[in-house]
Amino acid sequence: MTALAATAAATLAVRGVTVRFGGVVAVDDVTFDARTGEVLGVMGPNGAGKTTLFNVISGVQRPTTGDVSLSGTALTGRSVEDVAARGVTRTFQTPVMFWGLTVRESIEVAVAAREFGGTYPPAPYRELVPSGLGSSGRRRAESALRERADAMLARAGIAAMADRPTESLAFGEERLLELARALAVAPTVLLLDEPLSGLNPDEVEAVVASIRAARADGVAVLLVEHAVGELLAVADRVVVLDHGRMIAEGAPQAVAADPVVIDAYIGDELE
């Protein structure tokens, strides 16, 4: 594959991204691609710049230099809403819930966001008509939305807690909901920030299954995770950051055997 072809195939292109906070360089000239239907592991010790990198990709943080593009369209400089509307979705180290909504409603928000895109809601007057009072076409659309939400709940294995308020969820359940909510948007790029942290083995298995399913659906998954074994098992490629710089990139086992990576990160993790 030529370099040009490789670039064309990239879903997400990160080019020379540097982020400085005063005198601190959080991300230092990082360049990589994340392709459709692959899981890209992002490894590195605490403070390596992984979350800052996610903030840059998702539009929360503007890079000092460099840029990010999605299928050739620049993301840098766009608002968080605009980046999200273009298919970039993320989860957080600490799960973020919509308190006051039920689990089902949280998924419905995401499904509706996918249906209506970045202009949601496209026609406020149309949304004012409750289900059952609108036209037959309207009812069919609402019914279809509800069915898709139910399917997402079942696929994520959280259908049993669909009607529970988010305030009642345990930490692991919050993680499962946050991931299901992110997937319900049908993202092009999914940024997962330590999705396995704090989970029991069953929950880890469920999250890993969801990540693999997303990959099979053609999503480019960027996975930040300190559970090195699980990350190496699920990732197709890995990039390693240390003090903001990218010190390695490649196949999981090759990266895991890289002395530089072992010295900077994996050695510490295994101790």
Binding site: T94, F98, E105, A112, G118, E127, P130, E142, E167, V185
Partner: protein
């Protein structure tokens, strides 16, 4: 004595229903934007004065009412677009001062357009007073109470049974994250002003046949609506409803038993007590925020 108190309570229910509508406007805008809009009472003034002046000019009362509500909604839209949105990066205190400025400006506009003379509006329907367990209610009181049922019912349906309502609740719960799901916070902020203004305008229209309409009525209704919203819980629409009725009844009973001068004093005593003893209001709760 008991008959008198019952009559005061009925009067309190009617005025409390209007307080509840104004309070609902406060809550809507506060929930969606985090802003306390002290110009909320002026939307009631715009509604009442517009309806009364149009009806006085010969327009049928329901047409006048519809135009008055639209005028209030338009005023709310202009307030947001011209005064709030350009200053969205300002601090909370600055925004509060902006709404206080809007309040003064709209009252001044009312004075300029309609003058100081009160305007009257005929009741929507005729008939004699309605007797409720010995107490009397004017026929217009039924329209006031029906308006509350319709407005709060519509708000309940919207928030609980539409996707847009769920999206608004998500935006209220966590604005930054909601925005990453394509939920347009600024659009919702705009519509919160429009709807709050329309509700306030509707409140002014339906109460005008009972109280008459004056250019400065917004100050009284605005302060009462604010107290009712705080009393019920600034983040709770059911709280706005409850707060409105409790405030209306307590102030009218106090005013009837002692002196009408006590009404506002009692209202502010309630405000202070709530802020000291239960700052989250009667139906408010300590919400977990991410």
């Amino acid at each position: 004595m008991i008959e008198s108190i019952w009559q005061y309570i009925l009067a309190g229910v009617v005025v409390g229903a209007i307080y509840a509508l104004i309070a609902a406007g406060f809550v809507l805008i506060y929930q969606v934007t985090g802003l306390i809009n002290f110009a909320q009472g002026e939307f009631a003034m715009i509604g009442a004065m517009t309806a009364a002046s149009l009806a006085t000019a010969g327009m049928p009362v329901f047409e006048a009412a519809a135009i008055a509500v639209a005028a209030a909604a338009l005023t709310g839209a202009l307030c947001y677009v011209l005064a709030i949105r350009p200053a969205r990066a300002a601090t909370g205190v600055t925004l509060i001062f902006i709404t206080l400025g809007l309040d003064v400006a709209l009252r001044g506009l009312g004075l300029f357009v309609w003058g100081t003379n009160p305007l009257s509006l005929d009741p929507f329907t005729g008939g004699s007073a309605i007797t409720v367990f010995g107490g009397k209610l004017p026929p217009q009181a039924m329209w006031v109470l029906l308006t509350d049922v319709a407005v709060f019912g519509a708000l309940y349906l919207f928030f609980r049974h539409t996707y847009a309502g769920t999206a608004v609740r998500a935006a209220v719960a966590n604005p930054p994250i909601a925005s990453t799901f394509g939920i347009p916070l600024r659009t919702f902020a705009f519509w919160s002003f429009v709807v709050a203004a329309a509700i306030g305008g509707l409140g002014g229209v339906v109460i005008a046949p009972i109280t008459s309409a004056t250019y400065d009525m917004g100050l009284t209704f605005g302060l009462a609506g604010f107290v009712a919203a705080v009393l019920g819980g600034l983040e709770s629409l059911p709280g706005a409803l409850l707060g409105g009725f409790v405030l209306g009844i307590v102030t009218k009973v106090a005013g009837g038993l002692f002196s009408t001068g006590w009404e506002e004093a009692v209202g502010f005593v309630i405000l202070v007590l709530v802020l000291v003893l239960r700052p989250q209001g009667l139906l408010g709760r300590a919400v977990r925020r991410a």
